[in-house]
Amino acid sequence: MRIRSMLAASAAIFACAFSPLTAHADTAGKKIALSNNYAGNSWRQAMLTSWDKVTKEAVKAGVVASADAFTTAENQATEQAAQIQNMILQGYDAIVLNAASPTALNGAVKAACDAGIVVVSFDGIVNEPCAWRIAVDFKEMGRSQVEYLSKRLPKGGNLLEVRGLAGVFVDDEISAGIHEGVKQFPQFKIVGSVHGDWAQDVAQRAVAGILPSLPDIAAVVTQGGDGYGAAQAFEAAKRPTPVIIMGNREDELQWWKKQKDASGYETMSVSIAPGVSTLAFWVAQQILDGKQVKKDLTVPFLRIDQATLEENLKTTQKGGVANVEYSQADAQKVIAEAK
């Protein structure tokens, strides 16, 4: 009897001593899979690398049993649906999903839910109600740019808007957000709008084309991947460089750094980090851990300010996008904010 109680006591001490490590023992035996539809650009590559890095550590720490990544060979919904059905058979407890189509995977996602599997979609989200969605609030991304400008330029002024690829949902959303911001801060006025297609060369040509017809520009609002091109166009036209919002691309940050060192140029940069896959991973882990999580969550933006420029630039690969890997605490914060 005494031995048993001693054993129990020492076990309790052990449990206390190791509680920070074993607090998530609930998910230690769980298997999470990443179903990804496409790996053909630098953003997706960074996304997979982040997943690999963060999940490897999580597996090593015993938070989950495994976290395998699968990418379909062709970016096709039917192929990804088959992939998800295979994952059900392989006995995964959660599937983290970047979907080829918001609707065409619903049958497979429903089958996974019915089998008791947690499905968390991110970036390319699915609209099947039983799945969780970690979506990007593109509207807020646009609005926050104008909000930042209202602090930088309290007096307001003329804005030039560089938009993305015409007819794409993301472009409409960001632009709508920017216009909402202008309504909120009426000291700003959009005097020109061009499509930069999220590419520096296209943006440069488009801005260079419209510049001669424009009055003084106080700031340029952008969508990412177009800030450097816009800056080049202003330089070529020998016009004073306005405040150009950047989009976390490496070339944009390099240019900003150069301007900052030369003349104390100030701006900010905002986009979505490819490491959002790791956020989805932790959200799935939290759900498996029994946490109550709302079905619709929002991805935090990765915002780079004057003070954090150097540190972000250091970790950004040449020709890549600034990235951040999320931690369990970040996921808990996102979950708490959604409540």
Binding site: A39, T72, A73, A81, Q83, A104, G107
Partner: protein, 309 residues
């Protein structure tokens, strides 16, 4: 010892390869050996099997249809958009599309055009129409369609029953009916069919219309499985259907096709994908590995065909 008919020999390789693959999948993933497992493995094969039968009908008349993928996508979009709310409109559009297919068959016959070129052109038409009908992914499966595709049948999963039904119906249609014989006859020797008093044009139109009918069924089955559509949902089906026909013992010329083999070919292709993903082959290699599976099976067939000769 009774000699096997050439048809049976032709069917042997596809059956064997399916059996070997199935055994391998069961060995890798014993969980698949269950009612639910079989359904998950094969429910996406049902639309592929239908599309393969569609392709087979065109191949039977020595043509090739490169628009099956986009046409199935188009049918899926029509099904997802109109069938739940305006079933009559959906039926009208799909019947119209079948008529268009028949006209394509007539056009190819009359002008003696290469079917590859015509159907490749049509693939852009169907793709454009699909986007027009469903600009952004969505729509929904009609209740009865969803219920049909997810019905839990006793003992044998629906996916297997559906495959068997498709195989039997296609077999009766192509191997036993007069029309089927005429269609295969055109593939074998169009002139002798014409001399026998048949209208080659009518038969070709019928073959294309039948093919379109099976493609429409494929689109509907696909929506039933996925619950909604996307203008690009079935683009893979063009190549999958051709591979399925050949894998199932069909040949590009001569009207030598096997409906049962085609269905088995479609199942084999679907299973090959699952097999490779259970093997944890990196996605970069999967397309190559899938190709390797195809080449191995076709190589076996070639060996057997020599023996046969």
């Amino acid at each position: 010892m009774t000699r096997l008919s050439p048809q049976a020999i032709r069917l042997m390789i596809p059956v064997l390869s399916l059996a070997v693959l199935l055994a391998a999948v069961f060995w890798l993933q014993p969980r698949a050996m269950s009612y639910m497992g079989m359904n998950l493995l094969f429910n996406l094969a049902v639309p592929i099997a239908l599309a393969t039968i569609a392709q087979m009908l065109v191949i039977a008349v020595n043509d090739l249809d490169l628009s099956i993928g986009t046409f199935v996508s188009f049918s899926a979009c029509v099904t997802a958009v109109y069938l739940p709310t305006a079933p009559l409109v959906a039926v009208a559009i799909l019947l119209g599309a079948i008529c268009v297919y028949a006209l394509i068959g007539i056009l190819i016959h009359l002008r003696d055009l290469p079917s590859i070129v015509v159907t490749l052109g049509m693939s852009f038409v169907w793709g454009g129409l699909a986007v027009l009908i469903l600009p952004s992914p969505g729509g929904q499966a009609a209740g009865w369609l969803r219920a049909l595709m997810t019905a839990s049948t006793p003992f044998v999963p629906l996916a297997i029953i559906a495959s068997v039904v498709i195989a039997v119906v296609a077999h009766l249609l192509v191997m036993r009916s007069t029309l089927g014989v005429a269609i295969r006859g055109i593939g074998g020797n169009a002139r002798s069919v014409a001399r026998a008093g048949w209208s080659v044009m009518k038969i070709k139109a019928a073959a294309y219309a039948l093919s379109a009918f099976f493609s429409v069924l494929a689109g509907m089955a696909l929506v039933g499985v996925t619950t909604s559509a996307d203008a690009n949902i079935a683009l893979r089906y063009t190549l999958l259907s051709i591979a399925g026909v050949i894998l199932g013992g069909g040949e590009f010329v001569g009207g030598r096709v096997s409906p049962v083999g085609a269905v088995i070919g479609a199942l084999t292709l679907t299973l090959a994908g699952s097999f490779l993903s259970f093997l944890r082959i990196s996605p970069d290699w999967q397309i190559g590995a899938q190709g390797a599976v195809l080449i191995i099976v076709l190589g076996l067939r070639l060996l057997l065909a020599r023996r046969e000769a």
